[in-house]
Symmetry: C2
Subunit: 141 residues, 2 copies
């Protein structure tokens, strides 16, 4: 029961809502979920959780390092399982496809830029917006 282990390590009790929420991400039909989506999926599954709890738990999981939060330009944010390695996102403007990438040089340069200005870097967001050239992507302009 790996999620239980993770909860314990984070100093969080193994409560029903927490297990359910973590299970949602780990069963992972969808990798990225907003708080509202988590809430709706739990309700549909017949679980009686409060929206406040969903927000609380997601935030705790983020702080515990179990989840990573992504804020998008439209003001919404989604969570995804933290699978260890940091990555950035490239998003297709046409079809919404999301791919992940990691570039050590980019990471290093960011650290340099921050340090050079007297900032202690806490994190960053790098979203590349693009058009993908996949066959099933609707390429109208």
């Amino acid at each position: 029961m790996p999620q239980a282990e993770n909860l314990k390590k984070s100093g969080l009790k193994m409560t029903l809502p927490r297990m359910k929420i973590l299970a949602l991400f780990e069963s992972g039909s969808e990798r990225h979920l907003s708080a509202e989506e988590v809430y709706r999926q739990l309700l549909q599954a017949g679980d009686d959780v409060g929206l406040a709890t969903v927000y609380r738990v997601l935030t705790q999981f983020e702080q515990a390092g179990l989840l990573v939060r992504q804020h998008f330009d439209n003001g919404k944010s989604v969570f995804e399982l933290n699978q260890g390695e940091h990555h950035d996102h490239i998003v297709c403007l046409q079809c919404g496809r999301v791919e992940e990438f990691y570039d050590a040089e980019i990471e290093a340069r960011q650290a340099q830029q921050a340090a050079a200005r007297g900032f202690e870097i806490q994190g960053h967001v790098l979203h590349i917006y693009a058009n993908c050239l996949k066959d099933d992507c609707p390429h109208r302009r």
Copy 2:
């Protein structure tokens, strides 16, 4: 009167609130302003504008390409004059201070990463979140 030209080109009437708001950015004591900050500065200057108008006008200016909007992870967004050249942002999580930077290597790497995955890059968002070490920055939470 360059701002008047810009307004006309955008199909927007040359109204008092719009001139005032644009002038704020062009006189540019501060480069990045939130809607709330624009509102407060106008009130302080004795101009009687409504907050709704500020939001409306900022959005219109963004659509007209006069301003660029930056969404930050803390939920706030700021506007800055669109001066053509691209740059990224580093934001202090404590005091909200914003600085700009540009790193050619980061830009080049992004292009590579996108191309390697078959994406035609259209744009990107790179926000570094950090704590600044300035004296007037409230380092309590």
